[in-house]
């Protein structure tokens, strides 16, 4: 009984970094990403969804995080609050590319993260974000051209 993790603790362990990274990619701000991570797990506790598979669980966590992060950004825009970029400092060999990435609009960063980090296809991203697959493809293509060095596999 003691030392054994509950199902919720296991879910936190499994999903916290995925949720946090997704929030950070979209929001570009550590504090906001941490707040959003908390909100996502609160949402889970409120809704108590039943997942059919691990992929379903991943997609649910990412979609809730994504929706929350976008709402957060819209609220800041409505209140005319500055969208401050405050990310963990990149290493010297990647600084330029990472800084360039976080200059892109949040919608582009979202697509880049979901494709290049989480490995979702253009169609899957379109379904998750409620956008047109063509829009997703054009965002990815723009990112590929602009951030070639960042998206290339390192030797």
């Amino acid at each position: 009984m003691f030392g054994r993790k509950s199902a919720f603790e296991e879910l936190v362990q499994r999903q916290e970094n995925r949720v946090y990274r997704t929030a950070l990619a979209i929001l570009g701000n550590v504090q906001d990403a941490e707040d959003q991570t908390q909100d996502t797990f609160l949402k889970y506790l409120e809704k108590r969804p039943v997942f059919e598979s691990r992929e379903h669980e991943n997609a649910w966590m990412i979609t809730v995080t994504r929706n929350g992060a976008i709402s957060r950004l819209r609220r800041k825009e409505r209140q005319a609050l500055p969208l401050e970029i405050d990310i963990p400092v990149p290493g010297p060999e990647e600084r330029e590319e990472i800084e360039e990435l976080f200059q892109l609009p949040p919608e582009d960063r979202e697509v880049i993260h979901l494709h290049y980090y989480e490995g979702y296809s253009g169609e899957e991203i379109a379904a998750m974000t409620g956008t047109n697959p063509a829009t997703v493809r054009s965002r990815l293509s723009r990112a590929r051209k602009k951030l070639k060095a960042l998206m290339e596999v390192e030797p």
Binding site: N17, S71, I98, E154
Partner: protein, 222 residues
Amino acid sequence: MKTKYQNYMDRQHVSPELHQKLTKLKGKEQKTVIHWQKWAVLAASLILVIGIGLFAARRFSGVSSNAAGADGAPAMEFSSQAEEAAPMEADSAAGAASEAAVKESGDFQAAKTEAAEEESAEDVAAIDETLTQYATDFIGDAPNVVGIASHMTYPGQWQYDHVELHTDAPPYGLDIYLTGNGTQEETEFQPLADTAFALIGNLDQVTFLSSETGDEIASFRR
């Protein structure tokens, strides 16, 4: 063999403090909303209403039989007025019967209204108690803030969906997202905002929004 972006993101982890906060969330999950007091008040009210109903039914049936037997001797259980007027004509006895019936009916209605008011007052007290148990000094206390937002009664068809907390810098804000639709009148939301300000110590601003459209319904500053 990873991209620079993957390498950068792989290095980003939640802080140990945030991990602690997340795992503690489970302690507050799924609070019981209905209390035994609420059930007790409901049962007592039900017994009272049934008792009044049975009493009134018995009295009404007595009144009917008296009214029907107006040409005979007046029944004893009729009313004190009728007893005193025993030598009265049958017509005047029937008139007194209907007068008493109206009086009884009025008493029954008053008792019923009183019971309903008592029940309603008890319900309000129970709801208030439900909310006050989540009272907190800080907007960052997410489980309690969610407890407050999710247990408030929203006007019209609005229903609680989720909240967003703004804890990084003042003004500390609470966004309450609602589903459905209903009134957009700010005055309807004022009591809810007052409740939120009363229960959350450092809350500066509360905003009600539609979760479907993201549009603001009403916003209040302390």
